[in-house]
């Protein structure tokens, strides 16, 4: 069956490991992306595309979705189908009756309206992706048959007549009087004019459930008595009901959210000044500008804090970033942002950066230190080594690995030796990645290592900038006036 998430359904998508999602704070991002949309939508982000070609299929579709007006068309399409589901549900509450006929007309009409919307609105969008072209071809083929056309004609005619009925109800304390035809809404208009409230809607007073109230029942009875032909026609239509739904349309409704939800999320974030880019592959090249931690940026969006973007590049012969520097200086944040970059690129979606060139990594793995596990009763070091084992054993040649603070409980020298071994092994296997550590020695562990440090400014304040530099030691100062920035020079500089 035609899908906009999978090009070749012979290939199996890959489950995203849970540890990775939480280590990189991807879960927080996805929670915001899918806010208000339900768990089914969340699940769409649980699977990586099978390979580079599949990811590219999505990336092209996403490029089309980003075109102006496209997301609106799809959200309108989804809304109409929601209405379709709603009418369908209501119809099923009734046995054969005039009410069921009415809901059935509404139901089929909504479905057809959704299909017609795509038929009308998609072609002018100038889609370039294979997926969108396949979608349009499908719609053309589907709506082109005689059967579809004549069915649509009947449904639209019934619908038009149904919505054309108007009845006037006059209420005085002792009676209702029902007359067919339309009033003028005069009092409402006067209110609108005098009190500036043109869009107020008069709610149905009898909204409890789908059953009609007595006055509604009396009204319908009068109306159908006067319009016998319509009543008979509608009943015949229901009695000859047929299976009119195409599964492709329902699947499209579900899958398109994968793109539109992320696109809406990007729009919200862009309004707050964050940037995204599609990213591209150019052989083995790895170079990214303006990369930031999207999860942190989301958390900051409520406050005045801003994330600091960073650049990173792996040149010829380089394959691993080793990030050192002061505590809370932005090391882990940087490593996370690299992981997020690879994650969203693999997903075929835009990445949180201004410019990104990177290969498609077959595997993305993370290893973040955790609190000592009481459950296992083992020490932290054992725990860490155990968790490291599968990463080492995978022997992936095309992996991106993010490691955060390994061996913190081991003695300094031991930790250096073990860290170096891990690094050398992974580099030997052809993996790329980032390694955040306190051990400055590791930045010189191998020729393929790029040493990055979290920078401080001249006053020893953290800048959250990550720079390509040899690791160095920092010494803190304790003098109170320096601490509070109150020396003559500090004040002068601040106020310059």
């Amino acid at each position: 069956m035609f899908s906009i998430l999978v090009k070749d359904d012979e290939k199996l998508s890959v489950k995203v490991p849970y540890a990775l999602i939480s280590d990189l704070n991807i879960d927080r991002i996805i929670r915001l992306v899918t806010a208000g949309l339900g768990d089914d939508v969340k699940k769409l982000y649980d699977l990586f595309p099978a390979d580079a070609e599949e990811a590219e299929y999505r990336r092209e579709i996403f490029a089309d979705i980003k075109k102006e007006g496209v997301a609106e068309i799809f959200s309108c399409f989804q809304d109409i189908l929601d209405e379709w589901a709603d009418c369908k549900e209501k119809k099923e509450k009734f046995d054969i009756s005039l009410q069921q006929c009415v809901w059935y007309i509404r139901e089929v009409h909504a479905y057809l309206a959704a299909v017609e919307l795509l038929k009308e609105k998609l072609p002018p969008m100038g889609f370039e992706s294979e997926g969108m072209k396949r979608l349009m071809a499908f719609i053309d083929e589907y709506t082109g048959t005689e059967e579809y056309k004549s069915y649509k004609e009947t449904v639209y005619a019934l619908y038009d007549e149904l919505v054309g009925f108007r009845v006037k109800i006059t209420y005085t304390r002792d009676k209702f009087v029902i007359t067919e035809g339309s009033g003028k809404g005069t009092y409402q208009d006067a209110l609108g004019e005098h009190f500036n409230c043109k869009d107020a809607t008069f709610r149905n007073p009898y909204l409890n459930g789908v059953e009609t109230s007595d006055i509604e029942y009396e009204t319908a009875k009068m109306l159908m008595k006067k319009n016998k032909a319509f009543a008979e026609w509608a009943e015949a239509f229901l009695l000859n009901a047929k299976d009119y739904v195409r599964e492709e349309i329902l699947l499209l409704k579900k899958e398109v959210t994968y793109y539109t939800a992320y696109y809406r999320f990007m729009e919200r974030m862009q309004k707050q000044g964050l940037r995204f880019t599609a990213g591209r592959t150019d052989g083995d090249k790895f170079s990214v500008n303006g990369l930031y931690d999207l999860a942190l940026a989301c958390a900051y969006s409520e406050s005045e804090n801003v994330v600091v973007p960073n650049d990173a590049e792996l040149k010829e012969g380089e394959s691993f970033f080793v990030v050192t520097g002061p505590n809370q200086g932005g090391k882990t944040t940087f490593a996370r942002s690299l992981g997020q970059l690879v994650f969203f690129y693999k997903m075929g979606l835009d990445v949180p950066a201004t410019k990104a060139t990177l290969p498609f990594f077959g595997t993305l793995l993370t290893h973040f230190s955790v609190e000592e596990s009481n459950a296992t009763g083992r020490g932290k070091l054992v725990d860490e080594l155990e968790r490291l084992k599968p990463i080492m054993e995978k022997r992936e040649h095309n992996a991106f690995i993010v490691i955060n603070e390994l061996f913190t409980t081991a003695a300094h020298l031991d930790a250096c030796v073990m860290g170096e071994k891990v690094l050398k092994y992974l580099i030997g296997e052809g993996a790329k990645g980032a390694y955040v550590t306190h051990l400055n020695e590791l930045s010189e562990a191998d020729g393929a290592v790029v040493s990055l440090t979290a920078e401080l400014d001249e006053n020893l304040n953290r800048t959250f900038k990550i720079a390509r530099k040899a690791a160095r030691e920092y010494v803190g100062t304790n003098a109170l006036t320096v601490k509070y920035g109150l020396t003559y020079e500090q004040i002068k500089e601040r106020l310059a």
Binding site: V102, G183, Q188, N196
Partner: protein, 539 residues
């Protein structure tokens, strides 16, 4: 509808407050001012406890408004209004009282309570109608009050506001609103009344709606065609004639009598309620508009009412006032400048200071303990804050520049307890000031860095004061750190200094303190010992 009594074309915003407003309030003792602000000195309504409570929020209003510094133009705008208010004190107070009473009545009716979503009770709607009536009456009263005083009001703020009220609550608009209130009257008053024996009256509605049926034959896309009511008289609603009339109506085509048919009676009630609810929804903007207007009007008139109360209290203790003049950054001239909050808290007359400190960006004040140094510093700070919010000032004349921000760094009583880490606390506060201060600000330091040795304290004070002064910040400091004061004195050119001035609390030969500040070279003793002996001897 805008009120614009605080600004010509915008509303007050708390976000523009001085960065360290709470510190300023504490250091300059502004709380006493806020307390006095709610003391109704005009109508004398304050004697009643409940009425007094109604004025409690005046304190908060004055506190919030004083927290924001104005531009010269904005000050002039408020001065005009303030002068109108001082001339017609009862006008502004009555205006405030109308708003205050309306809002507290509204609050009693559950203004801020969340409505239960249940559609079953019509109680919420009845209250909404009452609120609408309340606002309608308040608007009428406000308009009427303005009409009474129209002749006497000269300020742009008040005359423009009068014009706006006449436009936004024009005769037409008032009439439309009154009409809707009439149309709604059946809902609040459903009873059949016996007007005289055997004769009954009831307010009866006529509601006409226009509906579609495409939602499974339920009413949809409903439009309200007619909505009105009239008082109808009966002989006896429970009598034979009434029943007969109801039966006869059944004979007409598509007429469904309601009486005696319970489901239909329920339908009828729901329709009534929904119609009223719809009408009230349509009026939501109007309620919000008038309600919001009255809210803002209470807030803005509250500031002037509070100011009048402060002025009257100052008068009680022979503290005069003037409308200050705006000068440049380095201007500071004052005549008989008094510390109003001290006068009000200690119920006494205070000593006024007179001087011209033009061109100075640094004032170092030293001298005898208990000599009035801190009081003087506070009087300058207080006058500056009052000036910058468009109030009068407690002096015969006052002229000064305007400061984007004002910072105070006072040694607090609690600081003098020799806890370890006090210097740390002081420096931390200072650090916060330096972080936020910008050129063009005023910094008032009172006995700062006294929690460490004289040597260390002087070094710190010197660094900070020098750097601030050189960065275009006006600094006034009261200090006991004599090496610091001497060093500044020598470096700045002593008594002849072009940009600095050194003041001292006057102490006569016989040791008497006059509480006046005079130009004086910093002296090495501040006569604390003398005071110590004096108190010990007395003790």
């Amino acid at each position: 509808m805008n009120v614009n009594l605080l600004y010509q074309n915008r509303n007050h915003s708390d976000s523009e407050a001085y960065l360290d407003w709470n510190e300023i309030v504490k250091d300059l003792g502004l709380d006493i001012l806020f307390r006095v602000a709610r003391k109704d000195s005009v109508l004398g309504l304050g004697t009643n406890y409940n009425a007094q409570r109604e004025y409690d929020n005046l304190s908060l209003i004055v506190k919030r408004v004083m927290a924001v510094a104005l531009t010269e133009e904005e000050i002039a705008y408020r001065h005009e209004i303030m002068k109108d208010c001082l001339q017609h004190e009862t006008f502004i107070v009555k205006l405030f009282v109308i708003c205050q009473q309306t809002i507290s009545e509204w609050e009693k009716k559950g203004r801020n309570k969340k409505r239960s979503e249940s559609k079953e009770s019509g109680g919420g709607l009845t209250t909404d109608i009452e609120v609408l009536k309340l606002l309608y009456d308040a608007m009428k009263d406000i308009k009427q009050l303005f009409a009474e005083y129209e002749e006497g009001l000269k300020s742009r703020g008040l005359t423009e506001l009068n014009k706006r009220i006449n436009e936004e609550f024009s005769e037409d608009k008032a009439e439309n609103l009154r009409q809707v209130l009439d149309d709604l009257s059946f809902f609040a008053d459903t009873k059949i009344k016996e007007v005289k024996r055997g004769y009954y009256e009831q307010i009866n509605p006529t509601i006409v709606i226009d509906v579609g049926v495409a939602d499974g034959l339920k009413f949809t896309d409903i439009k309200l065609d007619e909505f009105k009511c009239k008082v109808e008289a009966y002989r006896n609603p429970y009598g034979i004639m009434a029943k007969l009339r109801s039966q006869i109506s059944r004979l007409k085509k598509y007429t469904i009598p309601i009486i005696g048919n319970q489901p239909l009676e329920e339908d009828a009630q729901k329709l009534e309620k929904e119609s009223v609810s719809f009408v009230m929804t349509c009026l939501k903007n109007t309620i919000n508009e008038y309600g919001g207007f009255i809210d803002r009007l209470r807030f803005e008139t509250g500031f002037y009412f509070g100011a009048i109360n402060i002025k009257n209290e100052m008068k009680r203790f022979r503290v005069g006032y003037c409308f200050p003049e705006v000068g440049s950054f380095t201007t500071l001239e004052f005549k008989n400048l008094k510390e109003a909050s001290m006068a009000m808290s200690q119920h006494c007359d205070t000593v006024g200071n007179t001087d011209t400190l033009d061109g100075k960006t640094l004032a170092v004040i030293t001298g005898a303990n208990q000599g009035g140094k801190s009081t003087f510093l506070r009087s300058v700070g207080l006058a500056q804050i009052m000036m910058q919010c468009g109030m009068f000032v407690a002096a015969e004349e006052f002229k000064s520049g305007l400061f984007k921000n004002i910072f105070t760094h006072f040694t607090r009583r609690e600081d003098s307890a020799m806890n370890s880490g006090k210097l740390d606390e002081e420096l931390k506060r200072m650090g916060k000031i330096v972080e936020n201060v910008t050129p063009g600000s005023l910094v008032l330091l009172n006995e700062s860095f006294a929690t460490t040795t004289e040597k260390e304290g002087s070094a710190i004070a010197y660094d900070i004061v020098k750097a601030l002064k050189e960065s275009g910040i006006k600094v006034m400091t009261v200090t006991h750190l004599m090496s610091f004061a001497r060093r500044m004195y020598e470096e700045c050119g002593g008594a002849e200094s072009p940009d600095s001035v050194f003041l001292s609390a006057e102490r006569l030969e016989n040791g008497t303190r006059t509480f006046k500040m005079i130009r004086h070279e910093p002296e090495l003793s501040s006569f604390g010992l003398e005071l110590y002996e004096q108190i010990l001897q007395e003790g």
